[in-house]
């Protein structure tokens, strides 16, 4: 937190090394959150790119009300939501058996994600976006349930319900995959 303040302080004065420092500190976490939600490293990298370039563009006017990490993760979530809206990403329901949704089938994707990760993100991709987002925000972005509730404008019990139900679905999906 204090380190972030120092980096932002420098960045606002035009220090490029501070921008590099922030990128190096948060890029993997941001990319992992985006990949978990999109199940596609290519699209996730595009989201990371867009968020970070926007951040660089607007950082001089930025007045943080929370932590830098939360700000960047929220930006990733918002950008992913935009992507779902504009590209009409469809959410694959558990009952609708079919191929895992993905924007690309690039060979690089296979190279980066291990088989276990592929299974996991594949299972996540089959969840409704709300459940997926809740699980990712809690486990990958380290947000507490009350923070997620505040962010999504819903009650904590709804968040907890989505989380439990989402995990249960993932377990069912993974067990099914293992039996194949």
């Amino acid at each position: 937190m204090l380190e972030d303040q120092r980096l932002l302080w420098r960045l606002k004065r035009g220090d490029k090394e501070a921008l590099r420092g922030i990128y190096e500190k948060y890029k993997d976490n941001m990319l992992t959150v985006a990949t978990s939600l999109l199940h596609d490293t290519g699209s996730a990298e595009d989201v990371l790119h867009d968020v970070f370039v926007s951040f660089a563009m607007g950082v001089r006017k930025l007045k943080l009300r929370s932590s830098l990490r939360k700000y960047l993760i929220t930006s990733i979530i918002n950008r992913v939501r935009d992507r779902f809206r504009t590209r009409k990403h469809h959410v694959v329901e558990l009952d609708a058996v079919g191929p895992i949704s993905s924007d690309s089938e690039s060979p690089e994707q296979s190279a980066i994600l291990t088989e276990e990760s592929q299974l996991l993100t594949g299972a996540l991709a089959r969840l409704p976006l709300e459940q997926r987002e809740t699980i990712v925000l809690h486990l990958k972005a380290g947000m507490k349930f009350n923070q997620i509730a505040k962010m999504q404008g819903i009650s904590i019990s709804t968040v907890q319900g989505r989380y439990r139900y989402g995990l249960s679905k993932i377990r069912t999906i993974l067990n099914g995959e293992m039996r194949k």
């Binding site: 420098r10 220090d15 890029k27 490293t41 370039v53 950082v59 996540l124």
Partner: protein
């Protein structure tokens, strides 16, 4: 561990890493965006550019050439023969073993933050907030620990530093502590100027603080921002280490600079830093939470 724990752990451990090519692409674009925003958001710079455009071409070229010559002469070079260059301040800071930096803003007479860095002990301690609400954060690299002490309760929380956090802490130790405005001299934007100040050019920040004893004052200005920035560095006449750095800003070239914040530096000994840490977090054993704490040994090998 139940199946839910396993699944949660699996998701927590899932990590995607960017490729070097992706890093380069994103950083290049982010740097370009940063520069573009500086151009777009600087009304003073826009005004300056507009004025430049209305000059006849010959005058414009002559003016640009003159500015370039003056800038080359002034940038990183002091006017007085006894003065030092900015690079010497960076060099002195990079050699400093132990540094304490206190940050003051206009509204507070007490520092809003203090940071003690010991490059020899490999520890960094922050004190944020003031008075009864103060909080201390100690990054102990040899023990890979972060300890936080909250006042007034005196509660101490300990957590292990991840490998990444250790790398970041080590990197922060190599920096220059905001006593100079940029992490390294190459990051200074084009158009930056550095010059020595004469005594009469140094108005007091507060009564009785017109100058810092034993120092020589310098001023650096740079325009690559929404605002125009200026910092005034009081560097020790012997060691070249900054003892105080004041930051000012203004929105337009014709405005007066406004005070933003000030860093006051002292250079304690290793022993003094050890004592301070002990005072805050208790004896070594208590700090590590385990016997055999070796982060800050009492007796250094000769």
């Amino acid at each position: 561990m139940n199946p839910t724990d396993n699944l949660e752990r699996l998701i927590k451990e899932f990590q995607v890493t960017t490729s070097i090519e992706t890093d380069k692409r994103i950083l290049d674009d982010a740097f370009a965006a940063l520069e573009e925003s500086a151009r777009e958001e600087s009304p003073g710079l826009r005004e300056s550019m507009r004025q430049l455009v209305v000059f006849p071409t010959v005058i414009k070229l002559a003016a640009v050439a003159a500015v370039a010559v003056v800038a080359c002469t002034l940038f990183f070079k002091a006017l007085s023969p006894k003065a030092i260059e900015l690079g010497q301040v960076y060099q002195a800071l990079q050699k400093a073993e132990n540094v304490c930096v206190a940050t003051y803003t206009g509204a507070y007479s007490e520092p809003v933050q203090q940071v003690w860095t010991s490059r020899t002990l490999k520890v960094v301690m922050y004190k944020s907030q003031t008075g009864a609400q103060a909080q201390f954060d100690l990054f102990d690299i040899p023990n890979r620990l972060k300890k936080t002490k909250y006042l007034p309760s005196g509660t101490v929380a300990t957590e292990k530093l991840s490998a990444e956090a250790v790398i970041r802490a080590e990197r922060s130790m190599r920096d220059v502590f905001e006593l100079v405005p940029f992490a390294n001299i190459d990051s200074a934007p084009k158009g930056s100027q550095w010059r020595a100040l004469d005594k009469f050019e140094i108005p007091g920040l507060r009564p009785g603080e017109a100058s810092v004893p034993g120092t020589k004052a310098y001023e650096m200005t740079w325009p690559a921002e929404k605002f125009f920035y200026k910092c005034r560095i009081f560097a020790d006449a012997k060691s070249n280490l900054p003892k105080r750095t004041e930051y000012y800003f203004k929105e337009k070239p014709q405005d007066q600079y406004k005070f933003e914040n000030m860093q006051v530096a002292t250079y304690p000994t290793e022993k003094e830093i050890k004592l301070l840490i002990r005072e805050v977090f208790g004896p070594d054993q208590d700090r590590s939470g385990e016997p055999g704490y070796i982060g800050t040994p009492e007796h250094q090998p000769q």
